[in-house]
């Protein structure tokens, strides 16, 4: 069965119990929203159900719906009063996600999550046992997460200290929070930074001393949420190009940052030539130095010289210490 057909069948079998559980009726708009479909599609679904029912299809055998204005309610369920049990994947998705929330106490009320987990596991029955086949373990600094959540929910600005690893700097900023992101196991706050006058991502494990301010969060109109489909970092073609030669162990750089002019090379074996754009020479310097020789700078020459000079100065200090 194709995914759209399966989705529709799940919806069709759920619609009658959904209406049965709401005896006062529901507006078509609200029902469409709850099932994540258009009103047109919902109407088609209801029309299809209207001619369904028990064999014989006599009076009393068919589903009966009543439309009053823009509201719909069910007057005869033809015996379909409860939804189908959770399928295995549905139980797994639900239970694993709730367990994940338990690890993130800053995000939801832990007590409520625990109680929901117990009730959902009981209702899911046997498939709940298979939830052990997926697990999620996340590092969370719960205090920061809780403060940021509170700011987003109350639409307030936030004052924070942020550690910038590329410059090894601690900065102080006031930001207007926009949304929370969880990418590759790390939480980020996307916010308008009043100091940088731009949208920035703040990784929560680099945030210190965060406080919700009394003033409202007011990101300006030009503040747009980033599209993350291309990754966290986006290249700016205006910025200067740094060319790197990556050894096999440093090839992840090409997956992690936006790169251009990528070419495979044999020296070193399995190596890669890439171009990276950055306006911040200190970032490139730190990246290459942290790769400890697994990447060398092809261009610009000065960058290679600076990194080498730094390394020689450090080696000289080690030599002194050993000697003295």
């Amino acid at each position: 069965m194709s995914a759209p057909t399966a989705d529709r069948m799940t919806r069709l079998l759920a619609l009658v119990p959904y209406l049965e559980a709401r005896p006062g009726g529901v507006t078509l708009a609200a029902a469409a929203r709850d099932f994540a479909v258009t009103e047109v599609q919902l109407r088609k679904d209801l029309e299809l159900l209207w001619v369904c029912g028990l064999p014989g299809h006599g009076p009393g055998d068919l589903i009966d719906l009543a439309f009053e204005g823009d509201r719909v309610r069910v007057t005869d369920t033809a015996g379909l009063a409860r939804p189908l049990r959770l399928a295995t994947d549905e139980a797994v998705a639900l239970i694993v996600a709730l367990r994940t929330l338990l690890e993130l106490p800053g995000l939801a009320e832990t007590e409520a999550v625990s109680r929901a987990l117990v009730k959902v596991s009981a209702a899911a029955g046997e498939p709940a046992d298979l939830a052990g086949s997926v697990a999620v373990s996340i590092d969370a600094r719960e205090q920061v997460l809780a403060v940021v959540r509170q700011a987003l929910q109350s639409h307030r600005a936030v004052h924070l200290h942020y550690y910038v690893p590329s410059r090894d700097e601690r900065t102080e900023r006031t930001v207007d929070p926009m949304r929370l992101l969880l990418v590759d196991g790390h939480w980020y706050l996307e916010a308008w930074c009043r100091r940088a006058e731009g949208v920035r991502l703040f990784r929560l494990d680099r945030v210190d001393d965060v406080a919700v301010l009394a003033e409202p969060s007011l990101p300006p109109e030009q503040a747009e949420e980033r599209d993350l489909d291309d990754g966290l970092y986006q290249a700016d073609p205006e910025q200067p190009l740094v060319r790197l030669r990556l050894a096999r162990t440093a090839r992840w750089v090409a997956d992690y940052y936006p790169v251009e002019d990528v070419a495979a090379v044999d020296d070193p074996p399995g190596g890669l030539l890439v171009g990276v754009r950055t306006a911040d020479p200190a970032w490139a310097r730190r990246l290459v130095a942290s790769l400890g020789g697994a990447a060398t700078v092809e261009e610009p020459r000065e960058l290679a010289d600076e990194i080498a000079a730094d390394a020689r100065a450090a080696l000289a200090r080690y030599a002194d210490h050993t000697g003295g």
Binding site: A97, G292, A304
Partner: protein, 328 residues
């Protein structure tokens, strides 16, 4: 959705009604005559074949949806097997959630994005709403989690672990060009420190192994029957990964020039200045080589005191970096 699909959907819904409304097993012949939408018998073999094919497909579809379709005979005199759906097995048991609990469920279901679990989360949401639970999936918090994004092999590995079928795939380590074929009884997939892993019993090495999903390539394929093995009781996937990846804690002593190494200081204890005026720092890490990378990037500002293996790892890195300049 075209007319053919609508007809099929209508027939499947009617089939559910017919089999849910009876305690007796209903024969295929009876289903053919009472459930609308099936090819009527006209005495030809062609019509019989068409019905049979259609009915087989419908049964498979219902089972795929999770409908518990039973087969059996109501009495010993029945010639053919019949079908029914036991209401107790079909229906989702009563579930009532408080507003806070429903909010937690709504938030939880937004954590998934992959085709497999994202679609399943939507299905669960629909069923809970149909059970009368008012789950508000969008309320309050602007949040975009991507718990399971970007791992092409996730769906195949998860499905094999769920069905307990043997999984065959190519595994390519970063220091190898060509991958090696692995045959594994998959116990589960786990996100640990931001990366997804497959945990299982490696059949060729006859031992438990951990595989990074991003290194699983070449179309992972499940083979053999389902329920082919049983994962260990009390399995803790994250703990297996932690053991395998190695989690020995090292105590590290460093000196840093005043005002430098802001990032290292965030997780270090300051032990006061040394005799040349540098700050003495102590920190703990389980990832010694990542720390060596970080320290090397500080150049002459940070020196490692102990342990010796970290010190020599940093010196090795610096020696390679020093060779990069033109003047070297």
């Amino acid at each position: 959705m075209g007319g053919v699909s609508a007809k099929r959907a209508e027939r499947l819904v009617n089939l559910v009604f017919a089999l849910l409304g009876t305690r007796q097993y209903v024969s295929a012949e009876r289903i053919r005559t009472t459930v609308p939408g099936y090819e009527a018998a006209d005495g030809t073999e062609r019509a019989d074949e068409a019905f049979k094919r259609m009915f087989e497909r419908d049964k498979a579809d219902l089972r795929e949806l999770g409908v518990p379709l039973e087969t059996g005979r109501t009495s010993a005199f029945d010639v053919d097997e019949g079908y029914r759906i036991a209401r107790a097995d079909y229906e989702l048991p009563e579930i009532t959630l408080t507003g806070e609990e429903a909010a937690a469920v709504g938030l939880a279901l937004r954590l998934w994005q992959s085709a497999q679990l994202g679609g399943a989360a939507q299905g669960a949401l629909v069923k809970l709403r149909a059970a009368g639970v008012d789950v508000d999936a969008g309320r309050g918090l602007p949040l975009q989690p991507r718990l399971d994004a970007g791992e092409p092999s996730f769906d195949a590995c998860y499905a094999a672990a769920r069905d307990r079928r043997v999984l065959t795939f190519t595994y390519t380590r970063p220091d190898e060009d060509a991958g090696a074929k692995r045959r594994v009884q998959p116990w589960g997939v786990v996100a640990w420190h931001g990366r997804w892993y497959l945990v299982g019993h490696d059949l060729d090495r006859a031992a438990p192994r951990v595989f990074r999903l991003s290194r699983v390539t070449g179309n992972p394929r499940a083979s053999g029957p389902p329920d082919a093995f049983t994962p260990p009781a009390d399995l803790d996937l994250a703990a297996v990964v932690a053991r395998q990846v190695g989690r020995t804690e090292h105590v590290v002593r460093l000196t840093a020039r005043p005002g430098t190494a802001v990032g290292l200081r965030r997780r270090a204890t300051d032990l006061g200045p040394d005799d040349v005026g540098d700050d003495r720092l102590e920190l703990r890490t389980t990832e010694l080589w990542a720390l060596a990378d970080e320290i090397a990037a500080h150049g002459p500002d940070v020196l490692v005191g102990s342990p010796a293996e970290l010190r020599s790892a940093v010196v090795e890195r610096l020696t390679r970096l020093a060779a990069m300049g033109g003047a070297a």
